[in-house]
């Protein structure tokens, strides 16, 4: 069964360092999402791609976060510099198309900033 792959599963980094997360969506899925989930809260959308284009990054803290999906397939989310408040679970999800509403989630990357 096809799944969304994310790596690493866990990441510990010192504040002010750079960190990057990788996501490989289900093959053929044009829409890719990055969500952040702070402990005790629900996931919150950071950025949404349609193929290689960003369609929604209104909640992405652009002074320190960046996301790319250069070939419209896999994606990287970067934080530089990391802050203590960035400690969270970062979830990637994909869906077949913008009009198809089921999103499939990856296992997530648990980031701890110390």
């Amino acid at each position: 069964e096809a799944e969304v792959a994310q790596s690493p599963r866990y990441k510990i980094t010192e504040k002010s360092q750079a960190v990057a997360f990788w996501c490989d969506p289900i093959s053929g899925h044009a829409t890719l999402y990055w969500y952040r989930q702070i402990l005790g809260q629900g996931p919150e959308l950071l950025v949404q791609f349609q193929d290689e284009s960003v369609v929604d990054d209104s909640q992405l803290p652009k002074d320190r976060f960046s996301a790319e999906r250069l070939k419209g397939v896999d994606s990287t989310l970067k934080i530089q510099p990391a802050e203590l408040g960035d400690s969270a679970m970062y979830l990637c999800a994909s869906s077949l198309a913008q009009g198809n509403t089921e999103a499939f989630f990856g296992q997530g990357t648990r980031l701890t900033v110390v």
Partner: protein, 110 residues
């Protein structure tokens, strides 16, 4: 802005008892509503959506536009239902962006 509220952080029921996980939303348009579930050590996955009007694993949810609610119900809880449940909303024509509630941890006790 749209908002999803799940008032209970934790719901504990005995096996065989009815379950109702509450979800209320605020949005002036016509949203699509979903329930996602996360079992222990597994990824977040779709349980059901209101447009399908189907029962999955014995769970049902009815969209009540008058009360802006989408409560999840099951007549008889099973031990394997223990999980974290998230209610989510997507705006019609909103590109599938999901707005999640804070989740309810369901614990089914023997």
């Amino acid at each position: 802005a749209q908002r999803v509220t799940q008032p209970e952080k934790l719901l504990s029921v005995f096996k065989g008892a009815p379950v109702e996980l509450k979800c209320n939303y605020s949005y002036s348009g016509s949203p699509e509503l979903f329930w996602y579930v996360q079992y222990s050590r597994q990824r977040l996955q779709l349980l059901l959506r209101h447009i399908s009007r189907e029962s999955i694993k014995g769970f049902t949810a009815d969209l009540n536009k008058g009360e802006t609610s989408f409560h999840l119900k099951k007549p008889f809880a099973q031990e394997e239902d223990s999980a974290m449940y998230y209610c989510a909303l997507s705006l019609t024509g909103g590109g599938n962006k999901l707005t999640f509630g804070t989740g309810t941890q369901l614990k089914v006790e023997l």
